[in-house]
Symmetry: C2
Amino acid sequence: MARISDSKERLLSSALELFSERSYANVGVQELCEHAGVKKGSFYYFFKSKQDLMLEALGHQSQAIDRMILTPALGSNLPPLERIEHLFHLTYEFQKSLKEKTGRVRGCFFGNLALELSTQDELIRHRLDRIFRMAITSIRKTVQDAVSVGDLPDIDVTSTAEAILAYWQGVIMLAKVRNDPGLLKELAKGAKEFAIVETKDAAA
Amino acid sequence: MARISDSKERLLSSALELFSERSYANVGVQELCEHAGVKKGSFYYFFKSKQDLMLEALGHQSQAIDRMILTPALGSNLPPLERIEHLFHLTYEFQKSLKEKTGRVRGCFFGNLALELSTQDELIRHRLDRIFRMAITSIRKTVQDAVSVGDLPDIDVTSTAEAILAYWQGVIMLAKVRNDPGLLKELAKGAKEFAIVETKDAAA
């Protein structure tokens, strides 16, 4: 058994590992405790429920993805459109490393749960919506930079950022269903082609 | 209990309904039988397992989506790029009707299962990969038409079709996590902006 001070961290890390390997429904509290080497009593000391653990795991993973992918890509000194392409390349590296370790493209923790749980759990859906909106805000800033330097015309930057987030998630899905991280590299260029142009129409 | 001749159809229809409402892991054979009004013995007369039912349900739903969305959009007489935009509008109508009926944007049956099961079930992953590839082939033909009439430059039509499929799935995901089908309409224009340009680079 782990020291009590590690137990919470170990449960969060087991949640990330097991929910990514299978799905939320497919993993129970008992198995999470066994994987983490933590007693069931400790689980309920830290978390009210599996949902409660998941909400905290989402926060942790959101910070991790910010640190590993979003900030290095979108906060870099590259020209704005290259930053967006770089987002796909870093995601490729991440999914490739997961495949090397587990044999599988695991996909995006948030995307996986969004499709599994959005019809079933309003609290988790809202949290995922917020995480996606935060990513869209970061992408939007980069799109705005591209417009400012003249690399994109005067487009609808919010819709374009939403489109890029959607494309990013869709490419991760296709990489997962093919178990081929290479698709993230092959389709990265497409992310620079986006521009939701008809602002006036969209607002009408 | 349903007549035996209806039982198989009813089980397939319950599979579509319940797996879309929740998830594959979250619905068991017992519940499927109760929902369909079919005895468990009948289930095992028609299907070896839940996986076996799912594989057949995937085939049925693939035909339904072809008939309801892919063919009316991509096989229409619209100019090629409008056909691609129309794909999003028909998907909007479909998700909106599901939301009106159930309170929820249900998302794409294939996308949902792709993210839930690709790490867990090779047979289902392969079947989903095939279904996505068939859709990509239809989109590819439309992209080729757009190149032929001069609405798109001489791009990599296969990668562009993959990109459009990915974008379509990603927008459905975002609509599901926001429970807002309107996003499919708002982001439809983005689908026309795609063009994976650097063919030579991609092949290198």
